[in-house]
């Protein structure tokens, strides 16, 4: 359905996207995961055709978008990261406006508007000005607008930013329903849980580059162990000492952030016991210790040395 080949995009000196390639199969969900400024939105803009790549190509259903009015744009639904709504207009008026940009007739717009409002659960607020909506409702309308012309591909750029957990769940329900109906999804987020839950295939990007990609299982398999150990210390000095003590032995990868140190063990069996005894041996006291299940967070940490949410 979507083929992205070696796309590059610079803004002045900044290489926002620096050679990313991936393919999205029809009816699947593809997740683009990366920290702030990784280049996710820039990549998305090139897929939906609002930015032209400096080099490389984007093919949608075997077709490279040519120009502003390419009819193939009808097939793409785009949910931008920032709300693109007219606050003084009602949901129906917003849908009507975007519908007419997609060359829909009045009756078509009326029919599809009712349908998509029902999907996102806003049918009862159809004629109210959008400025009265909560943040979560606006997000849902932002998605409804992307659906109005009946796209085959839905591209969502962080559709859950600033949304309460309840609305977030409502959004996931909508997306899962759409996926079940055969919609192809491209989803960006810097929340790994969202991507873990939604996506069949995941690409982790950082600094405009692809770091690693695969299914969730494949990515977790790249970890030496499926858990990590997190120690909290009284202060940073203690943490620095602990980091040195742990690094002196071959436990696995050790990262420090402020007064916390995390260990991604290379072999499971003894790691927890070993690390505690190494700390004791070095006479370093820890305040707290937790063992966490391995996730995309660890994958990102392991491959970049940084935490996703820095």
């Amino acid at each position: 359905m979507v083929l992205v080949k070696d796309v590059v995009k610079s803004f002045g000196e900044v290489r926002a996207v620096n050679g990313i390639s991936f393919e999205v199969a029809k009816g699947t969900c593809f997740g683009l995961l990366g920290p702030n400024g990784a280049g996710k939105s820039t990549a998305i803009s090139m897929i939906v055709g609002t930015l032209k790549p400096d080099s490389g190509s984007v093919t949608i259903a075997g077709h490279v978008l040519s120009g502003d009015t390419d009819p193939a744009r009808q097939k793409i639904g785009y949910v931008p990261q920032e709300l693109a709504l007219f606050e003084d207009l009602s949901s129906l008026q917003n849908l009507g406006f975007f519908g007419s940009l997609y060359n829909m007739s009045k009756p078509e717009i009326a029919r599809k508007s009712a349908e998509v409002l029902a999907i996102v659960g806003l049918s009862d607020r159809a004629t109210e000005p959008v400025k009265n909506f909560s943040g979560g409702m606006k997000r849902r309308l932002n998605i409804a607008i992307a659906l109005v012309q009946g796209p085959e591909l839905l591209v969502l750029d962080e559709p859950t930013v600033g949304v309460d957990p309840q609305s977030r769940n409502a959004i996931f329900d909508v997306l899962e329903k759409l996926k079940a109906q055969g919609m192809t999804l491209i989803y960006t987020s810097h929340y790994m849980e969202e991507v873990e839950r939604m996506c069949d295939h995941i690409l982790i990007v950082d600094h405009g580059k692809a770091i690693i990609s695969g299914t969730l299982e494949q990515l977790l398999d790249t970890l030496d162990s499926r858990f990590r150990i997190r120690f909290e210390f009284l202060d940073e000095d203690t943490a620095v000492k602990a980091e040195a003590a742990l690094n002196a032995k071959t436990l696995g990868k050790v990262f420090r952030k402020d007064s916390a140190v995390e260990v991604l063990p290379s072999k499971n069996a003894q790691a927890i016991v070993d690390s505690i005894s190494y700390l004791q041996g070095a006479n370093v006291m820890f305040e707290d210790m937790r063992v966490e299940r391995g996730s995309l967070e660890e994958v990102f940490l392991a491959s970049t040395g940084r935490s996703l949410r820095d």
Partner: protein
């Protein structure tokens, strides 16, 4: 394409009318300011101090050489400069507001005036004036009085004609006491002649040898014509101010759409940038036209402004000015990088345009170089067009120049805007 343009324009119109407060302000600000000035300023024609010689037109229909001399002397006055034209040209020029005052010396003027200085009916000097240029009229009359009294009395009392004039005057004189006095004067004539020091005034036995029959050159013949003209001028100016201020708002709306990603969201649809831009332009023009009509309608309905000229012409001037407003809005949007920057710069540019274009302070009260500058301000042409249609009583043809010029500005602004947007 057309559908997209209309979709965008329609959306903008809905947005404009949805924000009731902002919408009402768009109408109220020009109306309040214009009403204020209508009450404060009207009647004294602006009353500004004259910065330059006032140009007046003179029409000589008299074959007496004295009349030619009078006109020539008038031109030497400190206060006015004179251009001689035909009656038709003078009438048109004053009617269209190109000149503030024209004086017409009718046939037999000088002969009658020379004798009337002593006795008999005064000669009549016709004066055509533009009621918005009260100061022009006053200054011109002062200059006329001074120069004509001086020259006519000098001529009347000089050389060969003096005696004849006096004798002719004496024949009208019935009062025996005055008759004797004149006779005495006739004997000591030549000394007076040499001194040339007779200034205007009605001392001695002399009287003002002419009277000025003024005619306000609006279509209105009623007493309120001058007041109407002042109000109409002020409302025209403030309507233009309302339009340009709205253009700034429209431009800022466009910039905000760019910044917030609304623009790029719209661009994801199969729609050309040109359609989006034209849609914005169309809505700006439509709203500008509505504001214009609202402001002028208030002037007409609440303040009794009368439209003496062509309603169609007024409507067309309004439409062209609204299109110019749309072009101006696009220009601001294309030049501004951020909202704040666009607001700052465009506010300065707009205020300059309004000031130099005569929206606040009539252009004819400005020094000549500023009057020249005003011609490069689209506002100037819009206001001229409104003036012509509303109180000068001009016909549709007089609307053509303002229409063409404002449309020219609209085209220029849009061309620059589109070129700039293409580059970005």
């Amino acid at each position: 394409m057309i559908n997209h343009v209309w979709a965008v324009a329609n959306k903008d119109l809905r947005l404009f009318f949805a924000d009731k407060k902002a919408m009402i302000i768009s109408f109220l600000v020009p109306i309040i300011i214009a009403s204020f000035f209508s009450f404060v300023m009207v009647g004294n024609g602006g009353g500004g101090k004259q910065a330059s010689k006032i140009p007046i037109l003179a029409v000589n229909e008299d074959d007496d050489p004295l009349t030619a001399t009078l006109i020539q002397k008038l031109g030497k006055s400190d206060m006015i400069s004179v251009e001689t034209v035909t009656r038709e040209a003078a009438t048109t020029a004053v009617k269209e507001g190109k000149s503030g005052v024209a004086v017409i010396f009718p046939k037999g003027f000088s002969a009658k005036a020379k004798s009337a200085i002593f006795a008999g009916d005064p000669a009549t000097l016709e004066e055509l004036y533009d009621p918005t240029k009260g100061t022009d009229k006053q200054v011109a009359q002062g200059a006329l009085m001074q120069t004509l009294m001086q020259e006519i009395s000098k001529e009347a009392m000089t050389g060969d004609s003096a005696k004849a004039n006096l004798e002719r005057a004496l024949s009208f004189e019935t009062d025996p006491v005055r008759k004797r006095a004149w006779k005495g004067m006739m004997d000591s004539w030549s000394s007076l002649d040499k001194s040339g020091g007779m200034s205007g005034g009605t001392g001695g036995g002399m009287r003002t040898p002419f009277e000025i029959k003024g005619q306000s050159m609006t279509a209105a013949k009623d007493d309120n014509a001058d007041v109407n003209a002042g109000k109409a001028h002020v409302f025209g100016g403030m309507a233009m101010q309302g339009l340009l201020f709205f253009a700034i708002n429209a431009a800022i709306g466009m910039l905000r759409d760019r910044k917030t990603g609304v623009w790029s969201r719209m661009k994801a649809a199969p729609v050309s940038s040109m359609a989006l831009v034209l849609g914005n332009g169309l809505s700006t023009a439509i709203i500008a036209f509505i504001i214009f009509c609202g402001v002028m309608a208030f002037g007409v309905l609440a303040l009794g402004i009368r439209v003496y000229g062509s309603w169609l012409g007024l409507g067309l001037v309004a439409i062209c000015s609204s299109i110019m407003t749309a072009g101006y809005g696009l220009l601001i949007a294309s030049l501004g990088k951020t909202e704040e920057q666009a607001r700052g710069y465009s506010m300065i540019a707009t205020l300059m345009m309004l000031m130099l274009g005569g929206a606040w302070f009539p252009t004819f009260l400005m020094p000549p170089f500023m009057q020249t500058i005003s011609k490069i301000m689209p506002v100037r042409w819009s206001i001229d067009g409104v003036d012509a249609m509303v109180f000068r009583g001009a016909g549709l043809t007089s609307a053509v120049t303002p229409m063409v010029v404002t449309l020219g500005f609209a085209a220029g602004f849009s061309a620059i805007a589109i070129a700039r947007m293409r580059k970005q």
